[in-house]
Symmetry: C2
Subunit: 451 residues, 2 copies
Amino acid sequence: MTRPSHITRTFGQFIAGATWDQVPDRVQHEAKRSILNFMATALAGCREDAVEHTLASLAAFSGMKQATVIGRTERVDVLSAAFLNAASGNVFDFDDTHLRTVIHPTAPIAPALFALAELRPVSGRELLLAFALGVEIECRVGNAISPEHYARGWHITSTCGCLGAAAAAGRLLALDTDQLIWALGAAATQTGGLVECLGTPAKSLSVGNAARNGLWSALLAERGFRGPPTPLEGRQGYLNALAPSAPDWSALTDGLGETWELLQNTYKPYPVGIVAHPVIDAALALREKHAPQPEAIQRIVVRGHPLLAARTDRPHVTTGREAQVSVQHSVAAALLFGGAGLVQYTDACVRDPAVLALRAKIDVEQDADMAVEAAAVRIEMKDGAVYALVVPAARGSLARPLSDREIEEKLRTLAAGWCPAHDVQPLIDAVWALDRAEDAGAFLRLTVPGA
Amino acid sequence: MTRPSHITRTFGQFIAGATWDQVPDRVQHEAKRSILNFMATALAGCREDAVEHTLASLAAFSGMKQATVIGRTERVDVLSAAFLNAASGNVFDFDDTHLRTVIHPTAPIAPALFALAELRPVSGRELLLAFALGVEIECRVGNAISPEHYARGWHITSTCGCLGAAAAAGRLLALDTDQLIWALGAAATQTGGLVECLGTPAKSLSVGNAARNGLWSALLAERGFRGPPTPLEGRQGYLNALAPSAPDWSALTDGLGETWELLQNTYKPYPVGIVAHPVIDAALALREKHAPQPEAIQRIVVRGHPLLAARTDRPHVTTGREAQVSVQHSVAAALLFGGAGLVQYTDACVRDPAVLALRAKIDVEQDADMAVEAAAVRIEMKDGAVYALVVPAARGSLARPLSDREIEEKLRTLAAGWCPAHDVQPLIDAVWALDRAEDAGAFLRLTVPGA
């Protein structure tokens, strides 16, 4: 296919023209599920180092108190709020996952909209529609350039998220098609982010920037700040620079408005690299059924799609952040403690001698015939007994999605670790009622401790 | 060569360990020439649309009045000042050029240092040393990934400039080696910028971000904000993501501290794409010698290296910004008006009927045997006369550098277009005396009208 020249304009027309009534009920509901899950992980993450440092630094350069920092009492300017809330939501990689691209869709987009909604009141429906449109642009661009884009080193949540944030914020600002093209261009030239930074606080910079720069791009476009006509598909534009080979052009615009990428969104029960989830399911089920004593275990074999080993075969880890992408740590902790929550991914748990001893017994085998959603765990006991289980699809996957109640429960659990005295039921209720809210920004205050 | 793992650390050690006395006199002086040239173009650019819009927008999100916006009375926060002054200096692409990479070295780096120097007073020598080190990192990374990086669509001034700004600001903050590695990592994951945006205000976003994000990266690193150990050379780091094929590893660190990229810096006499400069020289010389009447000209043939046509063969342009990369417009305006200053690149001049008529007579020929620094112009008159000239190297090139006095004159000319009543001699004197200044930030106030 020759290089098309209609991509950005088609996006702009779609974003400007879509209506709430055109969004199927399931998509409308999925938008609320995504936001509820995001609030859960943002409350969990809002006091992490990456947030503390960037908040303290940004506050030194802005005296404005325009918007809420989720889970905290400080107020900051609108651009910084977008940055910080995106960082909080994503810092543990416990937020949502678009499986085909491994994009975390909500973190760059929702915070841009929240900050804007506090600056200029909008209805909940307007916000939810803008959110759905932003996710659509973000994930379609991701689909077109995956998996090479990420493999090359680009942190896809950041690079595609910035476009999604610009699209969403642009819609909330009621930009016209030309302005949306400018907004997407401004975002395209302000995006970046490297996979190399995963596991360090620096990871949060590009995620925060995605929300901040996407929002700013839309605000600039509203002022008439112009960009090129084909920022995405142009010869020296986003897709050529960020996709090592030709993108899948059809993935960008085919069926736009008919299919919805939000329906491909998933929510993690565990704060762990998504490929390790079926392994944790298997380990927890085997513990429940056989209660193997750790010291009586001879060897554990984890088998899965080659991507499992590529992403999570890390027997030697020393920090909680590293452990989140270690299948050895995940299996050891699950078998020892019967859980895979944030408490199993603290630095202290990672250094626990019992965990270290069990981690050393775990081997990872690659099986190209297995689906990436599946995994098998075999526990060989010193007495010769063997306990084995194959999990075809993990909890939280598209085949076994978390229920609304399970996402609520995730929020309650994470909020309890954040601020046990805080009643989160009003927040949960407000998210479910967002499509009926007259002032969509109001519910953010329900996340402020003591408010 | 196998992938090395010492690159970022070597940079960090070099930046932390260098001293002013190790910097050769010529390099010290070239740093001042670069800054003088930058002040000239920043004064010229400080009221362009890209600056007006971003200033108005950023001011709505920060109440801080910490630093000078060059050439203007507003004061803004330190991060915004870095952004805005970088945008001003580069908006016309009239700033300096590192020819091997076509990086504009000063715009992303000097504004980060200026803003920092206003926040925390430092000596002029400290600032000049930090500047030279920043340019060294910026241009060495550019050398390692050129020309493919730019050809792919990356705006190299932005992508490499952000690293240079982090290196320079990190040195001014007296960061240690580990902190400098974190600063370079934070900058690496915050950089971007697309060639597609050239010719539009959106171009300035990535240039401004390079200064702003580089500075912020150093400030975060000072706070202990950690990043990965090998952000540049790591498998999913900056060089792999931003260089389409393997970088020239040796260009990164060979001879570090022995050679200085600042000595490769050049200053434009004309606000035009650098490859068109010898053409303008030829046109001005032919006008001077033969004074051909425009209506008596039959045809003009411009001949040059294929890059001349690739970058500047644009017979049909409608705006001043486009005309800056049109060799047809440049030749027509030079022959008609005897100059190639900013007044020849206004929208009005581009639409002048006499210019349009002459532009239509100009053909561009490619000659692979010609050096990229050279060009030939042949004017064929209707009466059969032919006037021809070959220029082997343009004014302002490394072979024919602008003198100190010519850079001063460039500043005076551009300042006259900015604010005719403003006496710029104190500013010129202050730049030449920067290595003896106790408070390096003080001279910025000399750029404020009415101050």
